[in-house]
Amino acid sequence: MAERLNFWSTLTDPLIRQNPVTLQILGICSALAVTTTLATALTMSVSLTVVLTMAAGLVSMIRRHIPDTIRLIVQIVIVASLVIVIDQILQAYFAEISRALSVYVGLITTNCLVLGQTEAYARHHAPLPAMVDAFGNGLGYSFVLIVIGSLRELFGKGELFGAQILPLAESGGWFTPLSLMLLAPSAFFLLGLLVWTIRSFKPEQAEAREHTPPLYVEPAE
């Protein structure tokens, strides 16, 4: 290894600066689907982070033995086996959450975040840096899921982890649930607002203009 990797920055970069969801817009399908409650969002984050880290480690270990032509198949087989293990564990110990997550745990296999990570990073790096980077990306994904999940559960039901936080109007409190928050569109809005917030603090993340606007000529008065 020519240069020493800075583990700390490899780990923390994907949290905000290189966040896979808000910057690279990867893996948003599951991010939108499982965030109706904080519990499912958290379970999904943990599952994805575990799968991502282990898949990156395994792919990186055999990276010199994978033929280039069938590399995607090999990667998908590895990821899918890990996902099946996670899915079985969830079904065994967290049956209720597993039912709430339904098909989305299985869909981690096709999550572009996982494939992108193994394809772009793990195939070219030693196991340890690959796993650190994958873990950081998993944390970045988890960060977004937990933020959106807690906002949706808090404003959609007034609860966090199923415990009542805001007193509901129907039981004598003041809070009327925003039922829109439990519908899929609100996840789009919240994700858009989150991206907007991050990019207004970090303007370098904003994409370049596709067109140059025409020069505006003041109309003659």
């Binding site: 925003l178 039922s179 829109l180 519908l183 809005f189 109309p219 003659a220």
Partner: protein, 260 residues
């Protein structure tokens, strides 16, 4: 329309002039809190225009008043200040101001705000309208078309479908009245309706057809709810309609002249 007298604000003023009779009828026939509601809506919309002027240097527009009027007329009743402010903020910011202000938006901010309120707080009743208020849509349409701020094609397309459906007894009268009001206040906005002439005929017809479809198949929906949903969907369809009309025009040209 960015040169000479006809800039964006002139169009907004003409639209305002068209809506004046409607607003007066609505205020005089309305409940006691109508004026307060209009004032609150106008205040919230104006504050957001001001914020975007200060932060992004976007010139504020008189269209704020049009948005406020449309929201005040159609918003569900007894929402309370907090929910109304939340809905208006969402509609105005996400529907209009983030795109660069009135003239660059894809959907009518009032429609977005009303849909947000409708989906977010389904427990609140939609307003119903007295016949005189709904008839006031006709002078609004006449003034709008006369001053060129509203499209005659759009209104015509909607009118044809509505007349046929009403003649066949498919469109109940309360829905027809509210649909006219919605056509003038929400759909006829020159920014978010289709931009080609034939596209405008189609856009109006699509709106009327959607109202017809919801009226006959959507059980338990209030007329105002039907109208808001139809105007949201038809304004989302407007760019597609324009694209279609342009494609037809290009293929016709190619057939006649052999090239584009």
């Amino acid at each position: 329309m960015s040169r000479g007298l006809w800039n964006r604000e002139t169009v907004a003023l003409m639209l305002l002039a068209a809506y004046l009779p409607l607003a007066l009828f609505w205020l005089s026939a309305g409940r006691a809190d109508a004026l307060g509601r209009l004032g609150l809506c106008a205040l919230v919309v104006a504050v957001w225009h001001l914020v975007f002027m200060l932060v992004r240097a976007q010139p504020p527009s008189l269209s704020a008043l049009i948005t406020a009027l449309a929201i005040a007329v159609f918003a569900p009743e007894d929402l309370g200040v907090f929910r109304l402010v939340l809905g208006i903020s969402f509609g105005v910011v996400m529907g209009e101001l983030v795109f660069g202000g009135w003239g660059r938006n894809v959907v009518n901010p009032a429609t977005v705000a009303l849909s947000f309120l409708g989906f977010g707080f389904p427990a609140f009743a939609w307003p119903d309208f007295d016949a005189p208020v709904a008839w006031a849509a006709i002078p609004a349409a006449v003034i709008g078309v006369g001053t060129g701020a509203m499209s005659a094609a759009l209104l015509g397309g909607a009118a044809i479908v509505a007349v046929i459906a009403f003649g066949m007894g498919l469109l109940p009268e309360p829905v027809l009245l509210v649909a006219g009001l919605g056509l003038v206040l929400l759909v006829a906005d020159p920014v978010t309706c289709a931009a080609t002439t034939f596209g405008r005929w189609l856009n109006g017809a699509v709106y009327a057809a959607l109202v017809l479809m919801f009226a006959s198949n959507w059980d338990g929906a209030a007329p105002a709810q039907i109208v808001v949903a139809a105007s949201l969907l038809s304004s989302l369809a407007a760019p597609l309609i324009d694209e279609l009309v342009l494609a037809i025009w290009i293929s016709q040209r190619r057939r006649r002249h052999g090239r584009t």
